[in-house]
Symmetry: C2
Subunit: 336 residues, 2 copies
Amino acid sequence: MVTIRDIAKRAGVSVATVSRTLREPEAVRPAKRDAVNQAIEEMKYVPNAIAQQLRRPRHEAIIVIVPEIANPFFSEIVQSIENVAHELGYRVLIGETQGKQERLDYYAEMVTSRVADGLILLGSLLPSVVRATVKAGKPLPMPLVLACESYAGLNCPHVVIDNVAAAKLAVQHLIEVGRKKIATITGPMVNSLCADRLRGYHSAMVEAGLTPEAGWIVDGDFTIESGHVAMLRLLELESRPDAVFCANDEMAIGAQQAIHEKGLTIPGDIAIVGFDDLRFGAYASPPLTTIRQPTNELGETAMRMIDAMLHDKPLAEQSVVLAHQLIVRRSSGVQD
Amino acid sequence: MVTIRDIAKRAGVSVATVSRTLREPEAVRPAKRDAVNQAIEEMKYVPNAIAQQLRRPRHEAIIVIVPEIANPFFSEIVQSIENVAHELGYRVLIGETQGKQERLDYYAEMVTSRVADGLILLGSLLPSVVRATVKAGKPLPMPLVLACESYAGLNCPHVVIDNVAAAKLAVQHLIEVGRKKIATITGPMVNSLCADRLRGYHSAMVEAGLTPEAGWIVDGDFTIESGHVAMLRLLELESRPDAVFCANDEMAIGAQQAIHEKGLTIPGDIAIVGFDDLRFGAYASPPLTTIRQPTNELGETAMRMIDAMLHDKPLAEQSVVLAHQLIVRRSSGVQD
DNA sequence: CATATTTTTGTAAACGTTGCCAGAACCCAG
DNA sequence: CTGGGTTCTGGCAACGTTTACAAAAATATG
């Protein structure tokens, strides 16, 4: 490995001069600067980033934690984080937890052990260290931004949408197009956001004077398959619903499939609304009505927030709530 | 920040003993060991990974480069890489290029600058440094494994499927179910794998004594939208095809949509075959016949290969070709 | 041309670990 | 209790940078 010392020797200068040539070239006399650059060129020197990081207080690297990389909703957010990050001069390391606390802690430790400067958290899990400090009412143990979810009692910058209102909007839409027997397929209740969406569902129903019947609320786990299974269950009910609000698009797609299998039509027999606005939803059959979350803004805001934290810029908002949007497509159309 | 020295002082031992307690506990007398552990506990000491990495020759970290993280095909491979990596004790950093050479080079530099030990490359782009050494006929400038694609003239371990044979199989299937006017929607031709798939298409056609008419070969770019556009183009043709082989599932889904829009049926009027076996394909309408790539094995093999390279284990195979599989679903069914 | 001032350079001390090596402490046999 | 052999421990030199600080060189000033 060629080091800064080799370059110094070759160029006939001191290591400090080499370092300066790299860091602040204008501070070194052109003649020497050229000699150094030439040596670097000739010897193909690349500074050892690890050694640099040992000296420097900050590395301009962040970790983004995703429960599941294969989930398009998350990967779209990651994508927008990456874009802003590059613009701001950060490198982005992506970590996948697959719901495992152990893996999350592993990544969190990468920031306590100084491999990265901060963490953007996309799932519903919290690193153990963070959980501990929350309990103790202490400040955050590391620069952290939450996207998608927030936690009561955790004083941490976050960017979210109003899941209660969004779900409510979705269900109200179903009511407006004339549905009354509205069921819902929920996500895993460990996520507070799922509880919120369920709350929104209830709220819309109650306000419209509708009472969800027993069996109209079915648990899913955000996968296509679980939506499929849940829908089959709903279809067997005595009082079959005429509409279903699904807590995400993947489950909605699974539900659609189940409805088709039973020879029923969408939206004729059953209307469907999803959540997330996956790009596959627009191409489902029929195209899926859904709530659009602003994945771009979500990612961008999260990235700018962590950047602000890391550079002690004042944070405009501790808590940013972005606007959601109802996208009406054929799956909730008028009965045809 | 609490360092190893603080722990040493608190526990009344030398730094070496602290380090040993962490690295090889059995080599230190239980009494001291306990004192050290207690100090670590009390002071909440976490070793500085950067400093460790400066001393250690290897970091057990790899970078996986993906063109696009939001593409489920890639993210499934990444997922399986992650799983094996954790098992083998590696940390995985994911980098997204979005087709930009500049970003790719940036990540490649993370391995020359010792942030990571090696690279797994999922796209069709090569880092500039690698390209340079290939031209010069030199050995690889860094531990590198290619997944999905291989390059003529680049002597680098890779794991792929036989895209020519797979595409051929897909088209042969269409021929077997009685189609004759078979079109294809290709991916971006910068990817050698797209050229391969087109070759497979041609080969199957020729062998069956069929000649693709002008206009039956349309370019796409792997997105749903491009599949949609391409299909619309095909539907306007004088001699409308009665089957389409799409170079990936996303484009196939877009194509299906276009067919529905024009009031035609699948597979009645037009049969469709995709490629990749995305999970959304199974829930398309109708469910999509496709070529399954073994994403799990792809990822796992790539990871094991890079591990072998990094630990100088002999590589069983420089080039691994995995088996593909035709998954027949309704989109290519018998005319109904 | 000497002196004061500014710019450029080099020396050496960090950064937080690990691991070699030598010395200290321990154990057992005689 | 001594000596020899183990086992543990501590001191210290790396690892490859960056950066104070001081020294040297260049430039400006009288």
